[in-house]
């Protein structure tokens, strides 16, 4: 299946990835998407979203999803 993956802020810089599309059969959850894209372990404070809604890392992903990884937010 095809998944759009995005990294923001310090995670974008650390992983050296911005936005990428992956085509993978072996990917079931948000955590799998990270593992597929990045060799290092996901930092424990990473926030994860699917289709622009916050989800836990064990959230299932499906074809066409947009999966995002980012550090704690600091707006306002």
């Amino acid at each position: 299946m095809s998944i759009d993956v995005k990294f923001f802020a310090s995670l974008r810089e650390k992983t050296g990835k911005d936005s990428t599309r992956i085509e993978a059969a072996s990917v079931n959850t948000v955590a799998d998407v990270w593992q597929y894209c990045v060799s290092e372990a996901m930092p424990s404070n990473t926030l994860t979203a699917v289709n622009m809604e916050y989800v836990p890392v064990d959230h299932a992903v499906k074809d066409g999803d947009e999966v995002a990884f980012f550090p704690p937010v600091t707006g306002g």
């Binding site: 923001f8 802020a9 926030l47 622009m52 980012f70 704690p72 937010v73 600091t74 707006g75 306002g76």
Partner: protein, 147 residues
């Protein structure tokens, strides 16, 4: 219920006045609660020259829109306005403007506070500071809204 992202400096009082004149029915609201967050020229003991506000286009708008709807269901409010800067920001520029109009002050105050706390803790924005010596650093964590 309006949200807006601005990629250049804005005058919060002018934006607020303009919105109020065009969108809020005169004579019906008794209470207007406002919060403006402004960039300081210091943070955690260091002088700060500039800041870049990154965000997640699409999710930011969606998050803020859902948040204003949630606040409107929790409190008796007539309208609300959230404006947030993105991109490059200089000290003394406004970062965020949150306004709530209501008939009752308790609702205006509490909805405003709620919007700000949720925005601070969950809206997908990230600040990167440029210090006096031009080094850059990501702001790691927002302060809590506790005293």
């Amino acid at each position: 219920m309006t949200i807006a992202l601005y990629d250049r400096p804005f005058d919060p009082w002018a934006v607020l006045k303009q919105y109020q004149q065009t969108s809020i029915v005169a004579g019906k609201y008794g209470a207007t609660a406002v919060f403006v967050g402004t960039m300081r020229d210091f943070n955690e003991g260091d002088n700060v020259r500039a800041m870049t506000l990154e965000h997640y286009p699409g999710m930011t708008e969606k998050y803020l829109q859902n948040l204003t709807c949630e606040a409107a269901s929790k409190w008796d409010i007539l309208d609300s306005l959230i404006v947030h800067r993105v991109g490059d920001i200089k000290p003394d520029e406004a970062i965020v403007l949150v306004v709530v109009w209501s008939s009752h002050r308790a609702h205006a105050y509490e909805a405003n506070r709620y919007l700000m706390e949720q925005l601070k803790s969950s809206a997908p924005f990230w600040k990167k500071e440029t210090l006096q010596d031009n080094t850059q650093r990501w702001v790691e964590k927002n302060t809590t809204g506790d005293l």
